[in-house]
């Protein structure tokens, strides 16, 4: 049997430019097996007609690698922040059925550029603030790097897969326009650099950075971050472990221990 008569519906929150008012628009596209949200948006682009049959501008969205390693295509799909490329249509309609429209919205915690595209620059800025790097003497050869315990290394590896996609920040109730909270991803990065045999040397600098305005103290333990992280990064564990580090440092600083 052919699937010609089957259609899936998308309900997409659109916006023409940053300052204009958002509106919802529906699109219907023919169903094919193995589709995902990105391939569906690409389909819409090939024939940009909305569900009422009017020609409209194609939906603007960010996407890059299509395999959930770049983080670009993050959006809110049926209420959950996730990557559109790995949001398989078969899975979604398996759960909600064919009839219910799939809703797509841009992330709400970042400025919208257009349609589903947002500007996540602030996440990178916070990485700067906490010095999320190892300050090597230079990129020239200086011989073998340090030895690194494989067990620790593989714990750090889990964190190192953070794509700065913004899911954690989107789901975090403390990350919003009223607060300058840096967002959950930052703390795991700090944890990771503080674990590295060389990064360990600047441990205190990074801890001081996360004790500054908008730092670790603003975490309210809602723990949504760890649930929505597409890479299962132990975000809350990093925060908890760093809590001990910053408290000890605070005592040390107050009492000049």
């Amino acid at each position: 049997m052919r699937n010609e008569e089957k259609y899936i519906t998308f309900k997409i929150k659109r916006r023409d430019k940053p300052e204009s008012t958002p509106y919802w628009e529906e699109f219907r596209i023919p169903y094919k097996p193995n589709m995902n949200v990105v391939s569906s948006l690409m389909e819409i682009r090939k024939n940009p007609v909305n569900a009422s049959g009017h020609k409209v501008n194609p939906v603007v969205f960010e996407c890059n690698c299509y395999e959930e390693v770049c983080g670009a295509c993050t959006m809110i799909i049926n209420g959950t922040p996730r990557q559109a490329c790995s949001a398989l249509i078969d899975e979604i309609i398996g759960k909600h059925g064919m009839e219910r429209p799939i809703t797509l919205q841009p992330l709400t915690k970042f400025p919208v550029i257009r349609d589903l595209m947002v500007d996540r620059q602030i996440m990178f800025d916070y990485l700067k603030k906490v010095k999320a790097w190892i300050p090597v003497d230079g990129s020239f050869g200086l011989g073998r790097g340090p030895r690194y315990d494989e067990r620790k290394r593989s714990a750090a590896y889990q964190i190192s897969r953070c794509m700065t996609c913004g899911c954690c920040a989107e789901a975090c109730p403390s990350f919003n326009e009223r607060s300058d909270f840096m967002g959950p991803h930052v703390f795991s990065q700090v944890k990771m650099f503080n674990m590295h045999p060389l990064g360990l040397m600047q441990k205190e600098d990074r801890l001081k950075a996360i004790m500054s305005h908008g730092g670790i103290q603003d975490c309210g333990n809602a723990q949504n971050c760890v649930r929505v992280c597409p890479k299962s990064i132990p975000l809350t564990r990093s925060i908890a472990e760093l809590n001990l580090d910053v408290n000890l440092l605070a005592i040390k600083r107050i009492f000049k221990w």
Binding site: T80, A171, P173, A222, Q223, V226, R237, N247
Partner: protein, 210 residues
């Protein structure tokens, strides 16, 4: 690099101070308060003697102001700011911890209102211990009064119990997911126990002859 200023950001220390005050002394006071008031279960006389005993202690006013009133004031004012900067994601994220987080903030506001009412009611408009007991019983004998009192007390208890759980995370004691789950369960058990205790106390007061 070397010239970078040593600068203590106040945010971190204020928030940590807020956290510690919630347990010491406020949490301890709450437990003590419930324990002392459980004398009401025995009867009005036992309850009166416990409260009179407390009130007759030397420098009690000074202790009440420095160990109870000021910490609560600070915790409440800063806490209100914390609630203000928190988003409430009610429907989107149906995770237990998220609900606990929301409830922590909701109970914060309820507790704040309740505590203001409670202090005015038992320390300002009523004079003697007997007055307080009579007034309390009076309120609790109306269904609405009972329910409101119960909501106030239970909010305070939940806020304390869940606060104890997050306190243990904030102070770097609980790291992994499993140990956090265990302590989340234990503190909720504590919450249930205190809620039950407070329910019995309130029922007993409501049953007291005026």
């Amino acid at each position: 690099m070397a010239k970078e200023k040593e600068h203590l950001h106040s945010d971190f220390y204020i928030r940590r101070f807020h956290s510690i005050l919630g347990i010491i002394p406020i949490g301890i006071f709450l437990c003590l308060h419930l324990t002392l008031n459980s004398a009401a279960i025995i009867g009005p006389e036992a309850w009166a003697s416990v409260i009179n005993g407390m009130r007759s202690m030397p420098f009690i006013i000074l202790a009440e102001i420095t160990l109870i009133a000021l910490p609560i004031l600070f915790h409440a004012i800063y806490g209100t700011y914390v609630v203000y900067v928190s988003d409430m994601h009610f429907l989107q994220y149906q995770y237990l911890n998220n609900w606990m987080y929301i409830l922590q903030r909701v109970t914060a506001i309820i507790t704040l209102i309740f505590v203001i009412y409670h202090v005015i009611f038992v320390r300002i408009i009523t004079e003697t211990t007997m007055d307080v007991m009579a007034a309390m019983a009076n309120v609790l004998q109306t269904p609405l009064g009972f329910v409101l009192e119960l909501i106030g007390v239970w909010s305070a208890i939940y806020h304390f119990s869940n606060g104890l759980f997050t306190f243990l995370i904030t102070w770097g004691v609980l790291h992994g997911e499993r140990i956090q789950k265990l302590f989340s369960f234990l503190t909720m058990m504590l919450c249930a126990a205190l809620c039950l205790l407070s329910l019995i106390i309130l029922i007993r007061i409501a049953m007291m002859p005026i």
